[in-house]
């Protein structure tokens, strides 16, 4: 292994390759900031450039740089304007945007950069040591287990989003799942719930819904209440860039835990960064002490560090099945697989033996990409955060324009824009009535995966028997039920006790 490591170091640390990583990170960061262009699309766009380089290691190093840059860029728009352009950064906006509203945008971006770096780095180290062993564990997960895992993810999100109001959160989750059934599913060749409209044939776009649920209501709120444009501190100065020692001590265990958990979830094919970030957020919230738990969703540094480290670690984790089994675990790695094949490299169990320099160069370049991203972005943060100092008369039309662009670029369809406005108005009304919107979006994102795994399990077991015939699935489902019942039971008991009516125990 040491020998391989040396080969990788040698390849990655040439002047040319370092320049390529720097370039890739910058391109990724800036394009990733535009909502609507996630890592997947940016990598797809960069593939022709990468292939024209010719050398497989260098091409992969470029793509790895772009990948990490794009993930960080996506977090930036989540934190600054509440517009998550990628599913895996939705959880980042839960606490990142509240921090911005408190005038701590600089600190939020710093925490995001540091957590991403730590997540990516720990992930790369784990990849180094455990890749071959983990590949065989991932194979133990079959459709029923994936179904169970996703149900756990959805219940965890509903449980944290609707504190004390779990039925609203559950309702929103189910509505999200229902929205995901619109259009043609992968398993059935029939359009469903399209009401005969051609434009709904391919379903709703993720970006459209993400913009409608988060960015548009926030922009409408900013217009309705001009006082909101000012951060709560009263000034738009960028201050508090540094993380204090206490804060560092507070988030360090979160980063450690979530890097490992995120990596393990990333290893499972199909789970990926999105589930890792949501589960990471939910887990950290549930294990936090009571007083810190209340801070989640209102600008908790822990709540920001958790999804950021988890999603980066998961991105690294998703390379395990790609490099060792040749199975791409996510959309992005699928595109990378395409790039690898175009470069005449076939990933699989033989890759480590046949072409060790590529395997190790990828791992080293991931590490390098993370490091360079941190070095590049920390000094840039004050300038990135300056976006908020733009006067609101300019900022609001621009936010609206970027939400429109995000929806338009993805689908190239003007109807999508009308849909965006309509859904945005609905989302604003739901927000007036205190319905949590995050579960809806998460339900929508996980819906197709959930249904596919559900359907496959039903086919394999010829009915619902997979629920009790697979112990791990049953365990996961019971855990999910527990997640939902426990908080509402607790809230109910707390309320009864507060009213002085009953305290049975």
């Amino acid at each position: 292994m040491l020998e391989g490591l040396m080969i990788g170091l040698e390849t990655a640390f040439s002047i040319k390759n370092i320049l390529i990583v720097v370039g890739g990170c910058l391109i990724g960061t800036f394009i990733g900031m535009l909502p609507g262009l996630g890592p997947m699309s940016i990598i797809a766009i960069m593939i022709p450039v990468a292939i024209s380089i010719g050398d497989a290691s260098t091409a992969l190093i470029l793509l790895a740089g772009v990948y990490y840059g794009a993930i960080f860029g996506g977090s930036t728009s989540s934190i600054l304007i509440n517009a998550p352009g990628v599913a895996s950064t939705v959880a980042t906006s839960f606490d990142g945007y509240p921090l911005t509203r408190q005038g701590k945008a600089g600190k939020a971006l710093t925490v995001a950069a540091v957590s991403s770096f730590a997540g990516g780095t720990i992930g790369a180290i784990l990849l180094l040591f455990f890749a071959p062993a983990l590949a065989s564990v991932a194979l133990l997960f079959n459709s029923p287990e994936y179904f169970g895992l996703m149900v756990v993810g959805l219940s965890a999100i509903a449980a944290f989003a609707g504190t004390g109001q779990i039925s609203k959160a559950l309702l929103m989750t189910v509505i999200g799942l229902m929205l995901a059934t619109i259009g043609e599913g992968a398993l059935f060749n029939a359009p469903r719930f399209t009401m005969g409209l051609m434009d709904l044939q391919s379903g709703l776009g993720f970006i459209t819904l993400a913009m409608a649920m988060f960015a548009l209501p926030e922009a409408i709120y900013l217009v309705l209440d001009p006082g909101r444009s000012k951060t709560e501190g009263g000034s738009n100065e960028i201050k508090d860039l540094r993380i204090t020692r206490t804060e560092a001590r507070q988030i360090a265990p979160v980063i450690g835990r979530q890097s490992i958990q995120g990596f393990l979830i990333g290893v499972l094919p199909g789970a990926g960064a999105t589930i890792a970030s949501f589960l990471g957020y939910a887990v950290e919230r549930n294990i936090a002490p009571k007083e810190e738990q209340d801070q989640f969703g209102k600008g908790s540094l822990k709540g920001l560090a958790a999804p950021e480290s988890a999603n980066n670690a998961a991105c690294t984790g998703s390379f395990v099945p790609l490099l060792t089994l040749g199975i791409p675990g996510s959309g992005t790695t699928a595109i990378l697989l395409g790039a690898l094949i175009a470069l005449n490299v076939s990933p699989g169990p033989r890759l480590m033996i046949d072409e060790p320099q590529i395997f190790w160069a990828v791992i080293i370049s991931m590490y390098l990409g993370n490091l360079i991203l941190l070095i590049l972005n920390l000094p840039l943060i004050p300038y990135i955060a300056k976006v908020l100092a733009v006067p609101r008369t300019f900022l609001i039309p621009f936010i609206l324009f970027f939400t429109l662009m995000g929806a338009y670029i993805g689908q190239n369809n003007a109807t999508e824009l009308l849909l965006l406005v309509g859904l945005g108005v609905c989302a604003t009304i739901l927000r007036f009535a205190d319905y949590p919107l995050a579960p809806l979006l998460i339900g929508f994102i996980l819906g197709p995966m959930l249904e596919n795994n559900f359907s496959r399990s039903m086919q394999l077991y010829d009915g619902f028997s997979f629920i009790y015939e697979r112990p791990m699935t049953l365990g996961l489902l019971i855990f999910a039920l527990f997640l939902i019942v426990l908080p509402s039971y607790r809230a109910r008991r707390a309320r009864l006790r507060a009213e002085g009516v009953a305290d049975g125990d």
């Binding site: 059934t181 029939a190 469903r192 309705l224 205190d434 010829d462």
Partner: protein, 161 residues
């Protein structure tokens, strides 16, 4: 009845329509061989619709107490105290943008969207405004069309854009 329960009522109606489609009309055209499989296109929607109806009823009948208004949220009962007009106009502007994007072309539609949006919000530095709008529309178009290679027609339809 509070707004959240009105919404639950509306959602209940929508979910009922969804359930009706899933249970009664969707499987009408199902191919005979599909009928023998344990999973139909309607299976998952059926499960969802039942769960949705239960959740709707639970909110509607008020099994859980809703919390009071939160800090930093907007009190919808006093909506007219806020800048409702501006918000509605901006939404109108977005609809206009959606409808005019193709006929006017990207550059003209985007430029005027940014200019009118800022004017509406009270911006009066006309020169800055026009310069910013033109530069922004131009550079986004260049980025998307030329750098990323995603087609975006720049000029009005009649000019062949």
């Amino acid at each position: 009845m509070a707004l959240d329960r009105w919404i639950a009522l509306i959602l209940l109606l929508i979910c009922t329509a969804y359930a009706y489609t899933a249970f009664f009309t969707m499987d009408a055209n199902l191919a005979p061989f599909m009928r023998r499989t344990p999973i139909w296109p309607s299976t998952f929607p059926k499960v969802l619709s039942v769960m949705a109806i239960i959740a709707c009823l639970s909110v509607l009948l008020g099994f859980e107490k809703s919390g009071g208004p939160k800090d930093g949220e907007i009190d919808y009962t006093r909506l007219t105290d806020y800048k409702l007009g501006q918000a509605l106009f901006l939404l109108g502007l977005m609809v206009a943008y959606a409808l005019l994007l193709r006929p006017l072309g990207f550059l003209l539609a985007t430029g005027s969207f940014l200019i009118f949006g800022a004017l509406l919000l009270g911006e009066r530095r006309y020169v800055t405004l026009i310069a910013v709008a033109v530069v922004a529309a131009g550079s986004v178009w260049y980025l998307v069309q030329e750098v990323l290679g995603i087609f975006l027609s720049p000029w009005p339809m009649m000019m062949g854009g």
